[in-house]
Subunit: 203 residues, 2 copies
């Protein structure tokens, strides 16, 4: 058997793949069920609506990405090296994406933020929590680098928001130009944003 | 009369407003015609398809925005002051947006880049041209600032791409958090990205 027991997972996985390449509005429940290989009745057993599915996809996606963020930002190396590892891991993700989908599909969370923010308050609220969490993780790393005298920023929170904005902006261009190499500049740009050179010169 | 003669303009204007708040896939031709107050037959007289309409909306939108870019980047003030004027004009745009729509709808070009890049090659190609043009305008300004010894970047093109990415990233967050104030940090962040302080210290 097994078909029923993993139906929810298969719906989530199919929806995530389809949403990455096509967005939310363009998808229908029937198409998601066909891709997942489950009958439409199963869908409504697990999800009250497409909106509820979108929330579950965001959670599932961020849980997986969050594990990558935790690995990249783990304190086994100094804070700036962790940040660099985060960019490399994001670039690797876009490259893997391109291998499997044939095209850079970008960041599901950024895609949904632009597509759904003005239309679905529940998804907007959940995406805000996710990006707040991303900023908070980066902020902790930036604050640690500042305590070590490696960067000169006055406001670690504002700096973290700038770094995450820079990352989302470059991922947008990686998607538009179908080129994961767009992320290669993030490290140097982040050092400039953080005033790392000024700190090195003063140190 | 007059209804026929301005029908194309009214379709474009309605489509632009609807696409800003709801995206492309969620829209139907019937809904656009209803908002524009034109019969569906008129639509297909002017546009062969919804895709062709999307291309015309991108052109119309960028033509209007391009005029704002030209005003902001006009050489009546030094290059860095032009860049600052561009950010202020973008922030003003988001605020006006919020006044008229009740919510920050963000950047139509960035929204469409994320929604349509992987799905509609013609729109992707047109959006690449638009963003190439934006980068080129910023690059000219950055190169001039560098010639005056006001910034220290080695590659004005890469710096311009970073500035436009930073702008798109912060507009994404302005939309997600419904807060045009997110753009207020762009000026300081751009000075850091461009190494303006280092240039001032060396000058």
């Amino acid at each position: 058997m097994g078909r029923t027991s993993d139906a929810r997972e298969r719906i989530l996985s199919a929806a995530e793949t389809l949403m990455l390449s096509r967005g939310y509005a363009a998808l229908g429940v029937a198409e998601i069920c066909a891709a997942a290989g489950v009958p439409k009745g199963s869908f409504y057993y697990f999800f009250a609506s497409k909106e509820e599915l979108a929330l579950a996809v965001v959670d599932e996606h961020w849980t997986a990405r969050r594990a990558e963020w935790d690995r990249a930002l783990a304190p086994d190396v100094p804070p700036l090296a962790r940040l660099r590892r985060l960019y490399e891991s994001t670039g690797d993700g876009l490259r893997a994406d391109r291998e499997s989908c044939g095209v850079v599909t970008g960041c599901l969370l950024g895609n949904l933020a632009l597509e759904m923010s003005t239309r679905t308050e529940s998804v907007r609220a959940r995406l805000r929590e996710v990006f707040d969490e991303q900023v908070s993780l980066v902020e902790g790393t930036v604050a640690e680098a500042r305590d070590r005298g490696e960067v000169t920023v006055a406001d670690a929170g504002a700096a973290a928001r700038a770094l995450v904005a820079q990352l989302e902006g470059q991922v947008l261009f990686a998607k538009l130009y179908d080129d994961p190499g767009r992320l290669d500049v993030l490290w140097a740009d982040s050092l400039a944003l953080l005033g790392a050179e000024a700190a090195a010169a003063a140190g």
